[in-house]
């Protein structure tokens, strides 16, 4: 038996490639620091590793052709930074087809890394697989949380935090389960308002709530709040019946919500849900030892991120301030109208109106401001830009939340309320009422 183990160890690719003593010492240090033995010993974590790799593939395949972080986007001013890093465009260095090949070269290198990870998983070399996945992870974080504010979806947060736990946190099994349940629990905080208590998010859609009649919308939406606040915790239960009922509910919930959000969200969440809480589920005791500090810190950080929009004064569903710092899925059904008048130094005026009718399009004043601010900084012939922005959520009236003479004088604060964005409580005027809109 002992002979078998050492033979198997000899076959590991890392032992064949890295033969020098200091390389071996580094590999064993790396394996210990990132608790990779936990993955080696657990079928659930091995499956989970594969599921996270699959989500990398999904994400990277959609970002590969995106212009979001390209030099072309920077030159044309058609990019969006996070409010906390508004100079992100200065760091862009990639070009995408038809302007260049660098971005697709990079992503094909990532594709090669993904293939290699599959091969390493097959050969049970979880250390090298971990190292390569870390490269994918660093790029994902850099791309979605640093270089652009325009690409990330809520499902990417799931992937980023779950992969973080899988790669870096000891007691991986417990913290994967806890963080997953916490996602539901924290997501409930954006649902505790009119849109979900009355179900008006869905009844303000022309097509209404999928499958169920609009007359029972509040029952369905409050059931979701109940399950996210209370039911989700039973996923981690010792009691098999409660655990299975909770699992069944959330499987159905994701299949149902997929009717609206389509494949990407359920493809990210359902494999993780099934692997952690499905047939292989075993109750995991809460670990309270020093080694769990990183995991508990992550839990606290997640709670802090989620509280940011709640701590910024004003209704963040109207102002969208801090909205994306935490989970924000289905926070409100949006419609908006943006009227812009660009006054040039030669006395000419160019006006434009843009409207958004899509419930899921966030109508974030920051995004519009960011685009216009680019124009203020770059176009020498622009004297000033006047702007009004009317926003309706969940079928409520359109409020004029921005009415500014000159956008070029405005700044956007990332972590506090911007006085130039008015809430109804701050006197934003009602300018009209919406009709039912559409989801896309």
């Amino acid at each position: 038996m002992k002979g078998d183990t050492s033979e198997e160890k000899d076959l590991l690719p890392r032992d064949q490639i890295f033969t020098r003593p200091f390389e071996q010492r580094f590999l064993s240090w790396y394996r210990r620091v990132f608790s990779i033995n936990e993955v080696e010993e657990s079928l659930v974590l091995k499956f989970f590793f594969g599921a996270m790799l699959f989500v990398f593939f999904l994400g990277f395949s959609s970002w590969m052709g995106s212009r979001a972080i390209t030099l072309e986007a920077f030159k044309s001013g058609s990019y969006t930074c996070w409010p906390y890093f508004q100079s992100c465009g200065e760091w862009y260095f990639l070009s995408v087809i038809p302007y260049g090949y660098s971005q697709t070269i990079l992503y094909m290198a990532f594709f090669g890394a993904m293939l290699l990870i599959v091969s390493l998983m097959w050969k049970r070399d979880w250390v090298l697989a971990h190292m390569l996945m870390m490269i994918l992870f660093v790029w994902e974080v850099l791309l979605l949380l640093v270089l652009t504010g325009g690409l990330s979806g809520n499902y990417d947060y799931y992937h980023i935090f779950l992969t973080f736990v899988l790669l870096f946190v000891p007691y991986k099994m417990f913290f994967l389960k806890l963080v997953f349940v916490l996602f539901y629990f924290l997501s409930a905080t954006v649902k505790i308002d009119d849109g979900w208590i009355l179900g008006s998010y869905f009844t303000a859609l022309q097509t209404g709530l999928p499958i169920f009649p609009d007359s029972v919308a509040p029952l369905v939406t409050n059931m979701v709040i109940f399950m996210q606040v209370i039911g989700a915790w039973f996923l981690m239960s010792k009691n098999k019946v409660y655990q299975r009922v909770a699992l069944f509910y959330f499987i159905v919930f994701h299949l149902y919500s997929g009717i609206l959000v389509q494949y990407r969200y359920p493809a990210t969440v359902l494999p993780a849900l099934l692997i952690l809480f499905g047939p292989l589920y075993q109750y995991t005791k809460v670990p309270l030892v020093k080694k769990t500090l990183a995991g508990w810190l992550l839990v606290i950080l997640l709670c802090i991120f989620q509280s940011i929009p709640l701590l910024i004064s004003g209704d963040h569903k109207t102002t969208l301030e801090g909205n994306k710092y935490g989970f924000y899925m289905f926070e409100a059904n949006h419609q908006c109208i943006s009227d812009v008048a660009i006054y040039n130094k030669d006395g000419s005026v160019a006006t434009s109106t843009s409207e958004s009718i899509l419930a899921r399009n966030r109508c974030n004043p920051y995004d519009r401001w960011f685009q216009m601010n680019q124009l203020c900084q770059r176009a020498e012939d622009v004297e000033k830009i006047a702007w009004t922005f009317d926003h309706s959520i969940n079928g409520d009236p359109f409020y004029r939340i921005v009415d500014e003479e000159n956008v070029c004088n405005l700044e956007y604060k990332a972590f506090s309320h911007n006085e130039w964005i008015k809430t109804p409580e701050e006197g934003a005027e009602v300018i009209g009422y919406p009709v039912k809109n559409i989801y896309r």
Partner: protein, 67 residues
């Protein structure tokens, strides 16, 4: 009815022509009076769950360990 249409400025954005006006259904019309109360109820439950989880699974086991 005519007067209501004059005072209520309906803004139909392009692409939404012909869509219905937004009205509350019976259940919503009843619930709308209690939205703040229900929101407070959910927040209280949310906080109670936090307290319960932290106490039951973290604080008490740690206290037991210290003893």
């Amino acid at each position: 009815m005519e007067e209501l249409e004059i005072t209520k400025n309906i803004l139909v954005l392009s692409g939404l022509e012909g869509n219905d006006e937004i009205t509350l259904n019976l259940l919503q019309a009843w619930l709308v009076n209690y939205v703040d109360l229900i929101a407070m109820f959910w927040w209280v439950i949310w906080l109670l769950v936090v307290l319960l989880m932290v106490l039951k699974h973290v604080v008490l086991p740690l206290l037991r360990k210290v003893r």
